[in-house]
């Protein structure tokens, strides 16, 4: 049943006094709302879009009040007000002012599907599309000064579901346990993983954002007791101050990092199915219920780039931007799952990009094909993105 809430002024709570330039004056603004987990990728894509010549140049304008709030706004036609982030052609994050009367959204974005957001109907109504992007992980983090190297699902169940009473030493000091709120994608996905509903992370301190979690964990005065969770993108750029723990799922015999080592970025254990906590990004937009076409032109173009239904402009190397921002494109995955944390299955991409992915992340060297397929062998005859692949 649709539990529709009409709260067109919800984001006024975050509105700041007008001080920046109007967002509407930016080149082809594309307005989005959602969680902070995807901001590094949106920033990288927006930087590239801002560098394109007309008519392809565009600017992603984004507010990140919380993952589920994005899909709620699309469902309810909620406009956004106040200030929003955007990125210029040098990649610098800036802010602009939204119209006081409210700006209609082009898209919503979050790291989980709408199923985990309690106010979203299942299934989504026929005028709302759900489009998958590339994969991101959820990482459990401790300070680099901590001696801890791994955590199990059961241990996380006790830490986040029971606090000190869980006796999961050394994570028994509730002031050192960083959590988020139930609208956060990282809390939704971790909760679904360890069987602690996102609304029941009652023991810990709400760090409010990805950066808040990083800062709180990294600066803890009791590093052995400190723990939190963030997106893989956030954890990767903060490796100087926080360490990702190897995660051992229920029934799993050993714990694995997302990457093959603490210093690599190859996402080998995600791509091969040994690291459990990952999900593709989800983009949501209004669509025509009959034709299926996304209604708003700018959303149609951006989501079309991401899903491959719109040709990429010359010089717009989307795959590279996704990989460099810490995500794994579906074409680099060897396993896949349907739905949030759904059952794993082997995945053979129609046009694989394993070699290109590994060339950018320091993984196993793949055979390059600068001259096309004639550089490849019979065992990997396809030349995709500059590297030989099986298909």
């Amino acid at each position: 049943m649709m539990r529709r809430l009409l709260f067109p002024t919800v984001f006024l709570a975050g509105a700041a006094p007008a001080a920046a330039a109007p967002c509407s004056e930016l080149p082809n603004p594309i307005y989005g709302l959602g969680g902070s987990a995807s901001k590094p990728t949106l920033a990288r894509i927006s930087k590239a879009l801002a560098s394109l010549p007309a008519p392809d140049t565009a600017t992603i304008v984004f507010q990140a009040p919380g993952a589920c709030l994005g899909i709620y706004a699309v469902l309810n036609n909620t406009t956004i007000t106040g200030t929003a982030s955007y990125w210029d052609a040098t990649g610098v994050e800036k802010t602009c002012d939204l119209p006081a009367a409210g700006q209609v959204l082009d898209f919503a974005n979050m790291a989980n599907s709408a199923v985990l957001c309690p106010l979203a109907p299942v299934p989504l109504p026929p005028d709302v599309g759900d489009y998958e992007g590339s994969v991101n992980t959820i990482n459990l983090i401790v300070p680099v000064a901590s001696s801890q190297r791994s955590i199990s699902a059961a241990a996380a169940y006790f830490v986040f579901g029971f606090g000190a009473q869980g006796q999961a030493a050394p994570w028994t000091v509730e002031s050192e346990i960083a959590i988020r709120d139930s609208n956060s994608a990282v809390q939704q996905l971790l909760g679904a993983t360890i069987n602690v509903p996102a609304s029941k992370f009652a023991f810990g301190v709400n760090a409010l954002s990805q950066n808040g979690s990083i800062t709180r964990v990294a600066s803890s005065a009791q590093p052995e007791a400190a723990i939190g969770f963030v997106s893989g993108q956030a954890a990767d750029v903060a490796r100087a101050t926080v360490r990702t723990l190897a995660y051992q799922h229920y029934g799993q015999s050993c714990g694995y990092l997302p990457d093959s080592t603490e210093t690599s970025f190859d996402k080998k254990n995600v791509r091969e199915g040994r690291y459990f906590i990952w999900s593709p990004q989800h983009f949501f937009a209004k669509k025509d219920p009959v034709s299926g076409e996304i209604v708003r032109p700018e959303a149609r173009k951006l989501i079309g780039y991401l899903t491959g239904t719109v040709a990429l402009p010359a010089g717009f190397d989307l795959l590279r931007y996704q990989i460099e921002s810490g995500e794994v494109p579906r074409c680099a995955m060897k396993v896949w799952r349907e739905g949030d944390l759904g059952r794993l299955s082997r995945h053979t991409p129609a046009k694989a990009c394993h070699g290109f992915f590994e060339s950018l992340t320091g993984g196993t060297a793949a055979r390059a094909c600068p001259n096309g397929p004639r550089d490849c062998t019979a065992s990997a005859p396809a030349c995709n993105f500059g590297y030989c692949e099986v298909q």
Partner: protein
């Protein structure tokens, strides 16, 4: 403004409780969901890494644990639930408070 925010927060909290929050972990780890205990013995490698890992090269992985416990030449860090968690109870975890 404050009234609007409080009203919205209240509505969100109330409706959050409407949704099914899923099963609680009241079954042992080893018996959970699609544990690899169903895998044929020939698919498990007692000498592999980690010990007892699932041989994905020769057997088709079907369950999550076939992937999660797949043999690898990479490293892992085991977490000993029984030794480290006083409330573990052989995997029969207590319900959330």
């Amino acid at each position: 403004m404050r009234a609007v925010i409080i009203t919205i927060a209240g509505a969100l909290a109330l409706c959050a409780a409407c949704k099914d929050e899923g099963p609680r972990p009241d079954v042992p780890d080893a018996a959970r969901a699609d544990a690899a205990v169903d895998a044929p013995a020939a698919c498990l490698d007692p000498q592999g890494s980690p010990a007892g890992c699932f041989r994905q090269e020769t057997c088709e992985p079907e369950a999550d644990l076939d992937f999660l416990n797949g043999c690898t030449d990479g490293s892992c860090v085991a977490y000993d639930n029984a030794a480290r968690l006083p409330l573990y109870n052989n995997g029969t975890l207590p319900p959330l408070p």
